[in-house]
Symmetry: C2
Subunit: 257 residues, 2 copies
């Protein structure tokens, strides 16, 4: 698909020091010239937030032939915007986000900074893929995930993906021999059942920590990402950059507002 | 649609002191019992962010028959989660978000805390509508917008909306006589062309302010929200809570990953 060596923008939401980012940078370097713009600190749960009230700072951490690394004080979406508008000479051919430490399957996609960066790529007409490994630990082993990332990348670099979508790739934390394959899925319907942890501070004021667990509304639906992951598959969900529900426009037009 | 007086949850992203919120609270009170959970401060551009690293605090500001008002230190989505999981005795019948000071048309929907709150309502199976007035000023006049909100509310309370979608309602800043009607639209394809304002601090370090302007990819498409607003209509876009691009699943299944 590319005549010359592609330019690949890499970002994440776990921050510049995350092991999953390091793996993704190494793999991207096998296929193209790489520019990394990643948050200084973890930005998990920041979704598509942009930094409006504060200025954003950038720090060039590393530069060698084919690899430039910046950290950014802002959110993952800020990283993508700064890369496109300030740091890169031309639009990247590909945006890779992750590899996230922890799942972004089902409804988690809407809270995820990793996937927001991929969606922002799509909005800017860049082929974009977000990767997540189902292991939240900071020292997760990304070697098997790395092999999956390569398989997806080869296909995407050969045949492209429409920029109206980006791919949400989730990888189960299994041995290579246990992974049954790559399955195209839809997003599972579900929600986070929030169990706020209510505490009282030394000054007798209440405060809450957000905790909670995922509630799957359709655990038996074999075309969903949660089902695929629970059954040993890598899940790939095409995510729409345009939020319009086209199916419902005709119905709404019948209503008397 | 409702046998008893509906319970209406009201939130926004401009914060508890915003004029648009006050108007929405007043209108909601005409139709149901109202609980307000809104951010202490402006949370514009926070999208679907949730607060993970810090505890969240809630402050009950007001309580009378049929109206309870809380402020919350977190994001708009935190407000919705806390309302549903901690503050309300039962699930609200309706979630109203706004009235936002400024447009959430086109791609702005993905950065908007106001619309994220509405989407979070949909995820939690609550009928949800976000309202925005195309006037960014803090002392914007919401009287005409209020009339539009009432028209939409009456219809939604009578006939409901599916919880797989929420409505993104944008209202032009026009006199009542200038508004041509309410138009069902799709989200305009476009993006924010970021013109970061690069400055240097007293210690000779660079920093960036996010500014920019909206670039409309299809200014002549009369089925889009931007076209409607520019031509004197209120735009109503059905927004999908599920981000899957169903149209592309079959295509992706043909690919060799």
């Amino acid at each position: 698909m590319y005549k010359e060596r592609p330019l690949i923008l890499v970002t994440n939401d776990d921050g510049i020091h995350a092991g999953g980012l390091k793996m993704l940078i190494d793999i991207a370097g096998e296929y193209g010239d790489v520019v990394v713009v990643a948050p200084e600190e973890s930005q998990s749960g920041m979704s598509h937030a942009i930094t409006i009230k504060q200025p954003i700072r950038i720090n060039k951490k590393h530069e060698e032939n084919g690899l430039t690394v910046y950290s950014c004080s802002g959110t993952p979406v800020d990283c993508v915007k700064l890369a496109i508008n300030q740091l890169l000479d031309r639009k990247p051919d590909l945006l890779l986000s992750g590899i996230n430490h922890g799942s972004n399957a089902s409804v988690s996609v809407i809270y995820s900074g990793t996937m927001a960066a991929a969606i922002e790529g799509g909005v800017n007409n860049i082929h974009s893929v977000g990767f997540s490994l189902l292991d939240y630990s900071s020292d997760a082993d990304f070697r098997v995930a790395g092999k999956i990332v390569r398989r997806i990348l080869k296909e995407v670099l050969s045949n492209g993906i429409p920029t109206e979508i980006c791919l949400n790739v989730n990888i189960p934390a299994l041995r290579e021999s246990e992974i049954k394959g790559i399955k195209i899925c839809r997003q599972t319907k579900g929600y986070w059942q929030e169990e706020f942890d209510k505490r009282t501070d030394p000054f007798n004021r209440d405060y809450y920590w957000l905790t909670g667990y995922f509630n799957n509304n359709e655990p038996d639906a074999s075309d969903t990402d949660e089902w695929a992951l629970r059954n040993g598959y890598v899940s790939v969900v095409p995510i729409r950059v345009d939020y319009t529900c086209f199916d419902y426009i005709r119905e709404l037009k019948k209503r008397k507002f």
